[in-house]
């Protein structure tokens, strides 16, 4: 236990990196996902085909393979990239594909009559999506989206393999140095659980907030 207290500062610095990385992935991945999902539904045939390829390929590939492809692949193409940069790109592509599919499914589940009614009022595409369709898709999007966010936080521990000094990296290093791994890994697990519980609670709170007039 003393090892944990002695190295708590290091672990917290690792956690800061993990949180930073996770937040970036979730924001970029969600942005990709919104446009990807809408593109899959409403885009012209060529856009739909490209997005479908992206989503299916990425969703069928292990995350670690994507990370290595970016981390070792980009330098081979003479693109200089840090481990952190490679991780952000790889994870965002991964999260983007998953969120695209989540958004596509949720938007498709909004009854077609809602689009008819919005069109009949004279709304053009983006106001229709923003004011009518997405607000109704949100309750359907939220649970799997929270799931994906949690998976990303957990998955971010893989960046240890491309030498990003996140929480996992700090834990591994301290454990190696002190030769006392158990308390350290238990602490790391506890920190991951706390972060993910916070995300889940936030999701539940959001769900309550956006449930309109219908008790959940």
């Amino acid at each position: 236990m003393q090892t944990v207290i002695d190295n708590f500062g290091l672990l917290m610095r690792g956690l800061a990196v993990t949180l930073q990385l996770s937040a970036l992935i979730i924001v970029i991945g969600t942005t990709i996902g919104v446009f990807g999902g809408l593109g899959l539904l409403y885009g012209p045939a060529i856009v739909r085909a490209i997005l479908r390829g992206y989503v299916d390929i990425v969703r069928g590939t292990p995350l670690l393979v994507i990370i290595f492809l970016i981390f070792y692949g980009l330098p081979a193409l003479n693109v200089d990239i840090s481990g952190f940069g490679a991780a952000v790109i790889a994870f965002s592509l991964f999260a983007g594909a998953h969120v695209s599919e989540i958004i596509r499914g949720a938007v498709a589940a909004v009854p077609k009559g809602q689009t008819d009614a919005a069109k009949a009022l004279g709304l053009t595409f983006w106001p229709r999506i923003g004011s009518i369709i997405l607000p109704q898709a949100l309750p359907i999007i939220l649970p799997p989206w929270v799931n994906t966010a949690v998976e990303m936080v957990k998955g971010s521990s893989l960046v240890v393999l491309v030498s990003v000094s996140d929480l996992m990296f700090a834990t591994v290093k301290v454990a190696e140095r002190t030769g006392d791994p158990m308390p350290l890994y238990i602490t790391a697990a506890a920190i991951y659980i706390v972060v993910n519980l916070a995300i889940s609670r936030f999701g539940v709170w959001l769900e309550r907030r956006i449930s309109y007039g219908v008790p959940v």
């Binding site: 009854p111 009559g113 809602q114 008819d116 009614a117 919005a118 069109k119 009949a120 009022l121 004279g122 709304l123 053009t124 595409f125 106001p127 004011s131 009518i132 607000p135 109704q136 956006i210 309109y212 007039g213 219908v214």
Partner: protein, 273 residues
């Protein structure tokens, strides 16, 4: 009240001037190999209340949805207040109109749907005020005040803050009528608006529509199976079957003294019921 055809091409007439409010010229519509509209012609005058009746599959709902371009049409032309719907004419050929143009014409042709299609994430008040604020740029307070007046008009003043999920079908449909009225449309399209309602709720919706029809403030095109309503509220009844207009005229004539065998067969179902 047969409508006389003018010889002037509507395209040469500026919007807002005389001519029928809705002009439907030889409209054809196909869904794949199935032709649901086979050359429909119909003029509706400003302020006129027209009921379209006919068996299911006769194309009446499709025709209604073509008027505000929720369905595209394959041949012919539809004009609302002398403006071509959904297409622009270039060198004698029809090309799809720009999204903004289509939206602008849609804002003039409000629609009330069989399934109500209220926005479930908005209160009744916001449902009604939303279009004017978002599409017409009316200030929020002004739109909400008007929305309250319209909700009062359909007898739902006290339900302004209720969500659609908290309202009965009849109440939802009356909110939907208020939502359509709020756009101050030139034409109101009613698509079998009582078909999804429990029988005891039909009356309250028809009463609102009857009141609206009697005011003659707005042109109404009503696809309906309610023969009593058609008889009492319509200026003209149009009978469609097999994708064409078979008969049209005053309700007493069309419903009271049908000429075609097809219409007599159709009406018999209602008298025996």
């Amino acid at each position: 009240m047969a409508t006389a055809r003018t010889t002037t091409s509507p395209r040469e007439v500026a919007a807002g001037s005389s001519g029928p409010m809705v002009r439907i010229e030889n409209v054809h519509k196909r869904f794949g190999a199935l032709e649901v509209l086979k050359g429909v012609n119909l003029d509706v005058q400003s302020g006129e209340v027209v009921c379209i009746i006919g068996p299911s599959g006769s194309g009446k709902t499709t025709l209604l949805r073509c008027i505000n371009f929720l369905e595209t049409y394959d041949e012919g032309r539809i004009y609302v207040d002398n403006e071509l719907v959904g297409y622009a004419e270039r060198n004698g050929r029809l090309v799809p109109a720009r999204e903004k143009e289509i939206a602008r014409i849609r804002a003039e042709t409000a629609m009330v749907f069989q399934q109500f299609n209220l926005f479930p994430h908005m209160t009744a008040l916001r449902n009604v005020a939303f279009g004017p604020v978002k599409v017409r740029g009316v200030p929020k307070e002004q739109a909400e005040q008007r929305a309250r007046e319209l909700l009062a008009r359909v007898g739902l003043a006290e339900k302004a803050d209720a969500y659609p999920g908290q309202l009965s079908g009849g109440q939802q449909q009356r909110v939907a009528i208020a939502r359509a009225l709020a756009m101050e449309p030139k034409v109101m399209l009613f698509d079998e608006v009582t078909s999804a309602l429990d029988p005891e709720l039909v009356g309250e919706v028809l009463a609102v529509m009857q009141d609206l029809a009697a005011s003659h403030g707005v042109t109404m095109i009503v696809v309906t199976h309610e023969m009593m309503f058609a008889r009492e509220a319509a200026d003209r009844v149009v009978f469609m079957d097999g994708g064409v207009v078979v008969e049209h005229g005053p309700p007493d004539q069309v419903i009271g003294a049908p000429r075609s065998e097809r219409l007599r067969t159709f009406l018999r179902r209602f008298t025996t019921a």
